[in-house]
Structures are given as C-alpha cells and as structure tokens.
Amino acid sequence: MALLQIAEPGQSAAPHQHKLAAGIDLGTTNSLVATVRSGEARTLQNAAGDDMLPSVVQYLADKVVVGKAAIAAAIADPHNSIFSVKRLMGRGYAETVAQAQQLPYLLVDQQGLVAIDTAQGVKNPVEISAEILATLADTASQTLGGELMGVVITVPAYFDDAQRQATKDAAKLAGLNVLRLLNEPTAAALAYGLDSGQEGVVAVYDLGGGTFDISILRLKRGVFEVLATGGDSALGGDDFDHAVVQWLQQQSGEAQLSHQSLRQHLQLARQIKEQLSAHDSYAFELPTANGTLALSLSREQFDSLIQPLVRKTIRACKQTLRDAGLNADEVAKVVMVGGSTRVPLVRTAVGEFFAAEPLTSIDPDKVVAIGAAIQANVLVGNKSDTDTLLLDVIPLSLGLETMGGLVEKIIPRNTIIPVARAQEFTTFKDGQTAMSLHVLQGERELVDHCRSLAKFNLTDIPPMAAGGAHIRVTFQVDADGLLSVTAQEKSSGVTASIQVKPSYGLSDDQVATMIQSSMQYAKHDMQQRLLREQQVEASRVWEAVSAAISADAHLLGSAELLDIEQALSALKVVSQGDDTAAIKAAIDKTNHITDEFAARRMDNSIRQALQGHKVDEV
C-alpha cells in the first residue's frame, strides 16, 4: 500500500541509492577511515597513499598540520605537536598533571578541563580531535566523491561518559553526523564476520597505543551480546615505548631529558619495538649529550622490560572473565586488535591464557575501522535485511553521592543499554525548592575513588512540608553509553529544571561557541551550517513520516491523514528555502502533529513483533 510515491530527483528516496557512510577508528596513535564499497569494507587512503593517519596535530601560527607531516615536525617543535590526544579526552586538568610528567606540552587549566597552549592559542582535546576527524572525513569524501551522510566512530569499551561525550562533541565540531559510537572490540568482532554463522563466546583482546580493552562477547543467532568489558584506559603500546626509553636512559646515564631528546628517544624506542617483533635482537645507535652510544637489545631483554605490563593485561582478562561468569576454557575464539598485538610476547601470553590460537588474519591496525564501516553501512540504511543485533552494555557503574561520601549505585556496570532507571528523593526541609545531586561513575564505594561525571541542581520544586515532595529522578543511558537525567515532582507533576555542570565535559553552550569560533568567517558560515543542519533534519523527518504513512496509514483517520500530509508538503516547501527558523518551526509542527501517530505505531509494532511479523512487512 503506497499512498505516496516517494521519488524526488536528488533526494535519497530511491531505496536502492547507496548512501555514503564511513567507519572511523579514532585511535590514540593512529586513526583510520573505512567504508563499504561493492559489498566489501576497506580502509581508505589519503592523497599520499596512506591508510593510517598518525593521530598527531601540529599547530602553526597560520595553519594546522595533521598526520605524518606533524610527526616530522615534532622533534623541532614539541610544544605545538600534539600526540596521543585521545588520552586527554574528557580529562580534568588536575588529574592529567598528576599523571603526565612525560608530556612535552604546556598544559592549561580550562575551567577544570585540561587544554594545551599552542601557537594558535589554547586548544582543548575536543578541538584537537576534531582536526583529526575532519582530515579523515576529507579523505573519505574526496575518495568517495560526495558528502558523508553519517559516520560510526569507535571508542574503547572502557571509555566513561565524559570521554564518550567528548568524542561526540569532537565529531560535532568537525561537522560530522554520528550514527553511533561503537565499542572498538565489538567493531573488531564484526570485521571478522563473527556475527554470521558463529556461535559461542569470543574474547577481543585490544592492545592499542594508549588503551587496553578486553571484552567478552557472546554470539548467538546474529545477536551480539557484550557480556563484560574491562581493561585499562591508561595502558598500551606507548607504555612499552616508555619502558624502553627508561632502559635507554639507564644506558646513557642521562637523568633528565629535554623535550626534544625525549621525542628522539621515543621514536627510537618505537623502532626497537617494531624490529624486535620480527628479529631476535636489534643493534642501534643512541644519540646522547656526549656523543653517540652503540647499543643492542635482545628480544629476551625487551620481553622482561614489558613483562609487567603484559601481565597487567592478563590480570584484567581474568577479572573480566569473572565478571562474565566464565572460565578461560569456555572462550571459543580470541580476536587480536591493535598494533601492539604484533609483539610476540603478547601473542604468546594471550594464547596461553585462553588456550586458543588468537585470530590475526585481518591487519590488527585496520580491523576496528573495517568493523565500524560495516556497521555504518547498516545504520545509514544501505543494508536493510541485516539480521545483526548489537546489544551493548554500560562499562562502568553509575551512581549517586549519598551521605558520608559514599556512592549508591543506580545502574550497575554490564547492564544492557539503552537503560532507564529512576530513583526517588524527598525534601528534608519545609518549603525546600532546590536540591543538588552528584553523579559518579566507577566501581568503588567512596566518592573520592570514583569519577565525578556531573553535578545537578534541581530547582523549581514546588514548596511543601519536609518529606512532602517526591522527586523522581530518571537516569537514561542511550545506545552510545551517554547519560541524560530528567526529574519530576510526582504529586504535582511539575518537571523540576536541571542545571548540569559536567565535571569533565563541555556544556552545550561551550560546544556551540567552539563551533562558532572555529569558523573562519564565523557568522556567515555558522548560519550556513545551522541552515544545513535543519535542512538535513527536515529531510529525515519528511522521509520518516512518509515511510510511516505508507506502512501504517490504516492507523489514521482520514482527517488526521490529511493534516499530516499538509504538514509534510509545507515542510518540504519550507526546507527548500533558506529560512532556518521557519524550517525548524515546520519540523516542530510536523513532529507535534505526528506524535499521536508515532505512539500508535509503536504500540502496534510491538504487537506485530510478537506475532512474528516485521513492521515493514505490513
């Protein structure tokens, strides 16, 4: 039953038209972009022919350099060449300073958040990451010959809310439409096609440059269930390099290294690590203040340097298996991800622990981007017959501060998302109209040991006697693992306002300001962009409602149908103009007029789902 023929030249109404979408692996050391073309997922190369874009950004007075060229400049210009910015995402200034003696940048306190003073002024990690994302998106749209409709960006499964939010903000700043934040290990399992035809428990061991993740997934009839995730967001191949640097320093006897020679040492350490993956020993020259030192390192020596770090990863594997309620011998497959899994000691240790030969046939550097591309292709709507269902879990418990600095868990870790949990609070004074809440994330019992996510002030509570007001606070975590909070006073139905102060994040206003200031001709570009955003949303609404009508018009009375069709044609006309406010008003009107229809469809489709019919078959 097609009430409306949806065929608009240039619009994406034709169901077979391929929409451009990409998967992005925003890595600590390297970043990649991949897409599905002719049914095959591949990473894309930039003009220089490279798949891997080093996640390095150099700020010069008049321009920004990203990638290889920025690395080359790093030795001469350490302050302005930012490496491993992913480690700083969603981090506070104080905690970063406490951990980061080895960072050669000028760290700045930006309202509690860490930022870096560069030749172009103070830049925060969100802005720096946006440069990397924008470079990758350029590569993609140049190779594919068009603008990307949407991207899937991968994040470590271990990322907390602040880190996920920062990643999403960076994408927004780069002008990208994020279809989904996908956990890296899940992406890797998708790349190996473990979703089709495979059953059983899969472990994904992901040792990248700066993060370690272990995830235990269960695959069953196309369902991808994350049973547990664990790891360490501050452990990776970079730490192998630092261990080698320390050894180099012991050999040369230099107590203090300048920023420049620290860079040199790090590059040499990386080279040694790579050589020792293929050879039993490696001879090299170390430049020191007193001339060059001829040295050599054997794989055995190297192994003993990194042994404590590798052991730490195995301990995390053990803990995560325990969370999943499994033994190591119940794991059927182990997927290896991240360049650091090329290190022979890592492969041996993992193989021994799980008593299984790890999967390594896909390049461990590309596997995450490839999986993200496969998922992006599905989410953008190019592949509607997919049978894969990704059920993800929240990696860290969410809780609230209670009396005495203790944390009460509201949503325990490894709960399947999306999830909404409500908690009731009451006032303790007569006429109390405000209340503050402190949301934390982590597994420990004390506030000081968990990560502060945000402080909320509930205001506009109707004044009542003490204990009279019942405020129901709902915590909702979406499929990306991002938290939102709403509150309502139950007896009066008044929605209390919430003022959010993210502890390690940016407010919506701050993001908007950043977008504005990043535009060269700020005002005009900004208006163009807002217009474009509304036009895109208008076309989404138009398509969604049109599709809903052609599927479920029988749920509407003829007057209702007429109203909706009128709103749709009005929306279409307005969205072709350039009046941003009018487009927004038309979207709001269409949404409002179809609210009831949407609710009816939802109820109807729940019934359909359980009768074994899919909604789109009706």
Binding site: K19, R180, I416, V419, A420, V541, V545, A598, L610, K614
Partner: protein
Amino acid sequence: MNYFQLFQVPAQFDLDLTELGTRYLELQRNFHPDNFAAGSERDRLLAVQQAANINDAYHSLKQPLLRAEHLLALRGVKISHEQRSFTDTGFLMQQMELRELLGDILHSSDPYALIDEAEQQIQQQKNVLLKLLAQALEANHHEQDLQAADIIRKLKFFFKLQHELELIEQQLQD
C-alpha cells in the same frame, strides 16, 4: 507498565525463560535504536525510551525476586523498602548462624570447605523459600499475596548472603 503484557506472556510466577528470551530478542530486533540511526530526532528518542523499557522489563522478568515483586505490584501489593522487624525467630537464628559461618571462612585452614558448606545451606534455604513463594503467588489471593511479600523479604537476605559469599571467594582467589 505491565511487563507480562509487553512480552505477551501469562502474568504468573512460573515462566518459561527460554520463551521469554526469544520474545526479548524479537522486541529488541524491532526497537533497538540502531534501527533508527538514520531517523528523525523524535524517532530516535522514542526508540531509546522503548528499548530501555524492554531492557528493564526483561531484567525484571528474568530474575525470580524481581518478577515476584512486579507481579505483586500489579496485584496492588508493594514490597516496602523500610526496615521491618521479623518475628520469625527461627529465621533470625538461621541468619545469625550463616553470618558466623561466613565470618569464619577467611580465618579457616580449609576455607573452600566452609564456602561449599555455606553455599549449600544458602542454596537449600533459597530453594525452599522459592517453592513457597511460587505456591503463595499461584493462589492469587490477597492473604497469600501478603505471605508472598514476607517470603520475598526473607529471600532478599539469602541473596545478599550469597553475594557476600561470592565477594569472599574473590578475595581468596586474589
């Protein structure tokens, strides 16, 4: 919201968990937000809420205690969270003995034997209570529903003990 209705399973304590799991996956296949990633903002928001409801319902129906609580709530009996004193001295004695047993484990020369013993006792008591709970709920009378609420309160103590026992076992392994 009536979770039994959402999953279209009979509103009773004795549920076929395999069937429940199948219904759950069917629902998520249709309502997971990934199906709406390219949709309008309103549709995406609705999908998140719907999927969260489905997850919450599944979480509650899967576990016997939460399922029983939900069933009672639908019948108008709320399990109050406030402290309620038990008059059942036999139950209290039993709790104290089990607590003592748990306290001894870490100082024992053969901790695993004590763990096994505690586990067995807890499991046995839980099974007895769960059977009583099923019977009380099956009657579907207010009187028995109030009894069921009391059994749930008792069961919570055993579930808590079991959790503590798991923590002790982890402590031993570390």
